[in-house]
């Protein structure tokens, strides 16, 4: 199923993260209508109450808005979405850097390692792997 979840973490958070990533990748567009709660619940294989909670969170984050009787829509506020993109980037880098430092790598090694990895991946992509 599309919804393989880590069952030691709250499901609503995992779905929230997935949707945020889809937004950042542009798979969900600004102003787009989100699936109804039931459709999304079925798609994810989870309880509709969980999706309701996700939509409430998105609304509180000002990323989505509920239009009475019409459903939930992604905000058209580009500034908010680019802020989401920045937040997501920082959050992941922050976690990565913390991990690396705890494993005993210094900043120079981290930057060099990331740089190398990016080159390796770019050459793989170029070869069409």
């Amino acid at each position: 199923m599309r919804g393989k979840f880590d069952n030691t973490k709250p499901i609503y958070l995992q779905i929230l993260q997935r949707l945020c990533r889809q937004l950042v990748r542009g798979e969900i567009k600004t102003g787009q209508k989100l699936p109804s709660i039931r459709e999304m619940a079925l798609h994810m294989g989870v309880n509709p109450n969980t999706i309701q909670r996700v939509y409430n969170e998105l609304e509180q984050m000002e990323i989505a808005e509920t239009r009475r009787g019409l459903g939930s829509y992604v905000t058209e506020n580009e500034e908010r979405l680019s802020r989401l993109r920045e937040d997501l980037k920082r959050e992941q880098i922050c976690r990565f850097v913390k991990d690396m430092r705890e494993s005993g790598f210094n900043p120079g090694e981290i930057i060099e390692g990331v740089d190398n990895e990016l080159k390796i991946q770019a050459s793989k992509e170029a070869k069409g792997v």
Partner: protein, 234 residues
């Protein structure tokens, strides 16, 4: 007045001199899906039968939708029994119509939709249904009712992964949590985990824990199975 749809207050049930459940109290808020989990013989079925009004408590009280649970609450409760309770000589369609005659809240149109969703053949005799299809039919009967309370005793037990998957999906799309509440028993926890709101862990006739499933993951960082193990040893 309680806002709970189901209320157990100091309920015990004795069979001869053995306690099936012992001094249990809990309430279910409406609009949620709750699972009763615990090992075989821990009292899950007894709790469901008490909530369905099929048996009476030895002591304590069981209230459903504001009324004391008894045979007459059958009109407000859809009960999916673990046992096979269908007539083998009926076809699928006849079984549906028979149930529509039994319960005023039975929604024939919805039953048709669910049958289609499940891929069940209308003209097949119940006697000729596979175990998986029998499970599908029983779920169809329970979900076709607009009853405020749906009780399901081991709806997934003994079914193949495909049947379990379609049953869980049909629960997501056909239960109206705006007006319905579900209490089900299972020992296949990981399968139903994503569709649950609440979990009640029973261990030898006593409640070991009642918890919001997201809270189990959020605050303890545990899967339901690990949580059950942890509280069962205490």
């Amino acid at each position: 007045m309680s806002e709970h749809i189901v209320d157990f207050c100091n309920v015990s049930k004795k069979y001869l001199n053995q306690y099936a459940i012992n001094d249990i109290s809990f309430g279910l808020a409406p609009g949620k899906i709750t699972a009763l989990v615990g090992p075989n013989g821990s009292g899950k079925s007894t709790i469901l039968k008490l909530a369905a009004g099929l048996i009476r408590p030895s002591s304590g009280s069981v209230t459903v939708n504001g009324r004391t649970a008894c045979r007459r609450i059958a009109a407000e409760v859809a009960f999916l029994s673990e046992k096979d309770v269908l007539y083998p000589f009926f076809t699928v369609d006849e079984t549906i119509k028979f149930n529509a005659g039994l319960f005023a809240d039975f929604d024939l149109q919805k039953a048709g939709e669910i049958l289609h969703f499940m891929g069940l053949e209308k003209n097949k005799k119940v006697r000729h249904l596979s175990k998986g299809n029998l499970g599908r039919l029983k779920i169809t009967l329970a979900l076709s009712r607009r009853a405020p309370l749906i009780l399901m005793d081991e709806p997934l037990a003994g079914l193949d992964p495909l049947a379990r998957d379609v049953i869980i999906k049909s629960m997501i799309s056909h239960i109206d949590l705006g007006s319905q509440t579900v209490l089900l028993s299972t020992h296949e926890v990981s399968e139903v985990e994503p569709v649950l709101d609440m979990v009640i862990c029973i261990y030898y006739g006593r409640i070991k824990g009642i918890e919001d499933v997201e809270k189990v993951r959020e605050e303890y960082g545990l899967s339901l199975l690990d949580w059950m193990k942890k509280i069962s040893v205490n």
